[in-house]
Subunit: 240 residues, 2 copies
Amino acid sequence: MSTISEPLYRRVRKDIVECALTPGKSFSEAELGRLYHASRTPVREACRRLEHEGLVRIIPFRGYSIAPLSVAEFHDLQEMQLIFEPATAALAAERANQKELDEMRELATYEYNIEDKNSYHEFLQTNYQLHSLIAQSSKNKRLSDVVSNIHVRLMRFFYLGLSFESHGPTLVAEHISLVEAIRNRDIEQARHMATDHISKAIERSAKLLMGAIRFGEAVFEASPEMGDSQLARKYIVPRI
Amino acid sequence: MSTISEPLYRRVRKDIVECALTPGKSFSEAELGRLYHASRTPVREACRRLEHEGLVRIIPFRGYSIAPLSVAEFHDLQEMQLIFEPATAALAAERANQKELDEMRELATYEYNIEDKNSYHEFLQTNYQLHSLIAQSSKNKRLSDVVSNIHVRLMRFFYLGLSFESHGPTLVAEHISLVEAIRNRDIEQARHMATDHISKAIERSAKLLMGAIRFGEAVFEASPEMGDSQLARKYIVPRI
DNA sequence: AACAAGAAATCGGTATACCGAGTGTTGACG
DNA sequence: CGTCAACACTCGGTATACCGATTTCTTGTT
């Protein structure tokens, strides 16, 4: 297959996720075309797709911008994770096949070196792959697509610097417990471990966010979409 | 606002949802352009959007088709409802404002006439609006978008003839209970009523599906994506 | 100096010509 | 009669010219 659109889309998406393209930055079709050596048509198409995924914003008749990061979005996405991931974990415990189970263990045990900066980015990728694989194992393609998209959108925050570097070993431990529950086909335990994992991730990032808002002001949107209360938004955790 | 693309997209989507465009039917850009009096560019854009929403399929370099209906998709979508709707109901119970609460009651108490065929379609619309409103009340825009999309995709099955006509009064009763729970800000009760509502909807449609598969064979995809076991797929219901 | 009207520039929206990928058909050859 | 290669046809992919919406800058008036 030799289309321009598809690889272009992937490249731009990668650059947005890794924050090589600054959140909030505005641009035009021509500009992006120059950057990636493509003409308007494929650029347009890529941008439309990215808009659907929440990575690009389109202002009709005006232009485009890389979707800004906002506290509201961060909350929304994590709230969705808290709903979806326990459910997908439960389904995965029921439906994953042996190959998937083995690959999960592989991904969960990935050790990253706290000292090495590159290793952090690799960890982000591995983390993404693990959660995607669990979602895939639910054997519900539509669900799996949604969960993957949530993760992609969240990764931007972590690439930006909302780092869980210091929590590395803890995270790995949580992943291992979750995967073991799935491997044991223990549905309720899988659901429980996922809820626990996401809840803790939310707690961990809550503190970091506070600092980052001031620190990274430039890339954080002055959210018109959220009230003051949002910072202290209450998460409705499913009882397990 | 004077674009061709946007209204075109809406019209095509409406026609797909209402099955005026037959599921599985293949078509070309030019053809659709002739039908809706538009040139290729806006047609292309509309089709891309519809593909993202799962209503259209694109075969690269070959053509398009209206996304076929399959038992697998039906299951996937209902499974997602079973995960999302209880969660959005719980959030709505926490966050809906007075205006939303009032409108919910309005929509929930909509009575439809079993005799009148048109009334059934109106009911489908009202049903959609109610569920969308509940999702919106979660104040999580990304979540609300996903839930709406699921509903849109499910509506095609009901427009086709997978009817819950005979269950009218029961459905209304379930809606009223759900809305009352939300109005009382009883989070766990809202979650419970939503789970109950969706579970029953799944049960009801399971029987209908069996008949419809044979009856409407033409529009049902000979699903390569599902094994035989799928018909009897076990739903992993969250404990409540 | 403030402001309003209009010109110009910018940018996406749309139409369309052209190109190359994928399929099906046909006819020559074994 | 079967096989396969070349060709023609169809359709989406891409490039691009043109148009209209929107904003910005300029300029003249008060």
